[in-house]
Symmetry: C2
Subunit: 341 residues, 2 copies
């Protein structure tokens, strides 16, 4: 008999800041895995800033979620039933399950999880997309080099905490921008040299100038908005701004963001502003994984998780993330491994 | 007896669009050349968009002109008196004379003009800064490659006309953006594939889409402002925007330019927006000069000049340029060679 399967489906595209009622909880029978497919049970389900783009009506870098569809997401999951060679019940994988308890996925799209390399939540973090994102954004697009002052916004966030530690490993000065002093303290703990908690700063440009007296060489932008504006006031010559995320625009994704444009600053500083998507480096993810895993083993790379328990709390956990309430990589624990039956 | 020397001095920094009375005409004795210096007489004096930045109170990429100082400019000039080895009266040079009839310049800062390579006005154009600007901005910062759709604003201007022809030589599709149909006709004559006269276009983004159905791969930005906004609506994946000039902001150089920001577009398209200054390629100018001169000899590179006669008309010629009334590279003819005495 098919297992009962709960799912969070998109109920409406948000106008401005998403709300929990943009999703609706549905139940149904777990799917039957087809030939070459795995039936998997979600253990840790991801919530991440990129999902804001996926639920927008606006054109994005990949197709979005339509109303009525299960919300898109990756999970660390356990194989319950295998119709694919090489897999058996109990195997652990990362799979694109969406926000649901059970999913049938083509085995070719699953990635094996080896818990000896790192604990399960890490497979949604540095061994998921966050690690390669931080790694290639800084190394390839940012072209960081020793001595650079590297500023990172959402610095205590899932990608930010990895980026700051990569910057340190590369011999840079790493500067954290966080919402709160609590997050800034965590950033200092993992090696950031200095930083600001922007909610306490009446003049953001002056605050950046204070912690970056020689200007900003590289800005890893997770936010856009007022923090980016303040960075533009503090560009070093040949500064590089890597546009990785725009989370500060979460409440106005569907509206143009109006404000000062900085073409003279870009010209005068010969700055480079460049968009980054990790997917462009998909064929090189293993390079990042090998290095990041070695750094984690050596103690040079630490991660903090903000784990919410319970499948029913997925939209709430996503809102927690969008409103900066999380400290560390946000994930939702839905089930424990080893009970796949 | 010293010759009489007329000079245009900055009378006041402009607030917004410059006006002719931002300069004042003064007279005095021509200077005596010191040891190692040349006394030169200006023949063709330059007026160029970069000068808008030099008279601003705002920080720029080089120091500006102070009130009371002679306006900065290069000229094609004739040596009247030489106190430097290797130079004699009658030699032709490019020198930083400023807007004045006679100047004493260190011989080491002058560049020899060979009229057999190209006629005199060209030495303020493709053999001056304009040629290397267009060349390195497209080749190095724009990384143009065959098949790219390359859009150039101020396309009939001094740098734009060179840039369009380089794009064609490199196998690109060259699209002109000009103010008027007359300028657009000239662009087609020198090889641009298509273009728009923006003053006749009620919807600039739609107009760009019409002439760039596959999107914009490279935008050579001489203007900023509404044209750039329209380009952002039409980015191809991995588009490159080379920020070379911001002439549309000439009337609000001292104010922030407020409008839509395009961080989502930059992210989604993985676009690169990068500031460019020719001076960063100073050590490689000869590479550009050799190639450009060969293209000119072969007929692949044509230039049009907009020559205003008379030293007294320098501010008027500059205003002509800032208000898009010129067709071709704007210069002011002050004297003929061969009458240096």
């Amino acid at each position: 008999m098919a297992k009962n399967n709960r799912q969070w489906r998109l109920a409406a595209h948000p106008d401005g800041m998403p709300r929990e009622d943009n999703w609706t909880l549905t139940e149904g029978a777990a799917p039957e895995p087809g030939n070459g497919e795995l039936l998997v049970r979600s253990l840790y389900v991801d919530v991440a800033p990129y999902m804001r783009g996926r639920i927008s009506r606006q054109q994005n870098y990949t197709s979005g979620v339509s109303v009525g569809e299960v919300m898109t997401a990756a999970s660390v999951a356990e194989v319950v039933e295998s119709n694919a060679e090489g897999y058996q019940a109990g195997d652990l994988v990362v799979a694109t399950t969406g926000w649901q308890e059970y999913a049938a996925v083509p085995a070719g799209t699953a990635r094996r999880v080896d818990p000896k390399v790192a604990d399960l939540p890490h497979w949604l973090d540095f061994l998921g997309t966050n690690g390669p994102t931080a790694y290639f954004a800084l190394i390839e697009t940012g072209r960081i080099k020793p001595g650079d002052t590297v500023v990172i916004s959402a610095a205590a966030g899932s990608v930010g905490q990895i980026a700051g530690q990569i910057a340190k490993i590369c011999g840079c000065r790493a500067i954290a921008i966080t919402s709160t002093e609590e997050k800034l303290a965590w950033c200092r703990e993992i090696g950031y040299d200095d930083g600001i908690a922007y909610r306490n700063e009446p003049d953001l440009a002056a605050a950046i100038a204070r912690v970056c007296p020689d200007g900003v060489d590289v800005y890893y932008d997770n936010t856009a908005g007022p923090i980016l504006d303040a960075i533009f006031q503090n560009l070093a010559t040949h500064a590089r701004i890597v546009v990785v995320g725009t989370i500060s625009l979460a409440d106005r994704f569907e509206q143009p963001d109006i404000g000062p444009r900085f073409m003279r600053k870009i010209l005068v500083s010969r700055a480079r502003v460049e968009g980054f998507l990790a997917g462009d480096y998909g064929l090189r993810f293993d390079e990042a994984y090998r290095r990041l895993a070695a750094w984690q083993k050596s103690g040079a790379l630490k991660s903090k998780f903000d784990i919410v328990d319970g499948f029913e709390n997925l939209p709430a956990a996503f809102m927690r993330l969008l409103t900066s309430k999380n400290l560390g990589k946000q994930v939702v624990r839905v089930a424990e491994p080893g009970h796949a039956g």
